[in-house]
């Protein structure tokens, strides 16, 4: 399984902090994105935001990133700490 996390405004928009996806549905980050918007059509407008950042195992990566079972994926808005 792949663990998927959402943070901040995105978490509120999706009303979801965490879910799991089978690796067969998400061989790459792009596929995972497609799977999530397919399963949850109402999420599409929020997940299609070009500014969103994506991390795999807590490192920011590009959408072409290949996923493996046990990976932790996170989607989040641009950061605003400090």
């Amino acid at each position: 399984m792949i663990k998927v996390l959402f943070f901040a405004q995105l978490r509120e928009q999706l009303q979801c902090a965490e879910l799991s996806v089978a690796e067969s549905d998400a061989q790459t980050l792009a596929q995972l994105h497609e799977y999530l918007t397919g399963q949850h059509p109402l999420w599409a407008e929020f997940l299609n935001n070009e500014k969103l950042l994506m991390a795999v195992n807590q490192t920011i990566v590009k959408v072409s990133q290949v996923l493996q079972s046990g990976d932790e994926v996170a989607f989040f808005p641009p950061v605003t700490g400090g």
């Binding site: 943070f7 901040a8 807590q58 700490g81 400090g82």
Partner: protein
């Protein structure tokens, strides 16, 4: 050392730790970020600070490693608060000691610029009209890019 915590910090204690028993440290720069009353013309009452546990610490470690490869840093300290914060509260502490001021000034500024654009923290502003997630700002991106 990196600390992500709800509790406040004491600048005097942090300074003392940066210089304790270290007579090589000829320069110390400390920065404190605080909750301001006016942001982008909105009157702010407070902030909620959210973070991504684990990735926050990892990204800050990477930022520190980059700073150490560019400047001669003796000791460093980063503290970032999370949870509910109110006007005038401390948010973030960055402290660096070095033999000379150039290394201390530059590395402290670099750490803050990178923290603001790379570390997964998010601020939600509490105003009289409700709460608003802050947008990232172009000026912060530009501040980070001048180090590249």
């Amino acid at each position: 050392m990196i600390s992500i915590q709800q509790n406040d910090f004491n600048v005097g204690d942090e300074y003392a730790a940066l210089v304790a028993n270290d007579t090589a440290a000829g320069a110390v720069v400390t920065f404190v970020g605080r909750v301001r009353d006016l942001n982008l013309a909105r009157e702010v009452q407070g902030l909620q600070l959210e973070h991504y546990p684990g990735m926050t610490e990892k990204s800050l470690q990477e930022i520190v490693a980059q700073a150490q490869s560019r400047w001669k840093i003796l000791r460093w300290r980063i503290i970032h608060r999370i949870g509910n914060l109110y006007l005038g509260d401390n948010i973030v502490f960055v402290g660096v000691s070095s033999a000379h001021r150039e290394d201390a000034f530059h590395s402290a500024e670099f750490l803050m610029d990178y923290l603001k654009t790379r570390a997964p923290f998010w601020k939600k502003e509490l105003t009289a009209d409700g709460s608003v997630w802050l947008d990232s700002q172009e000026k912060d991106q530009q501040a980070m890019q001048r180090w590249e």
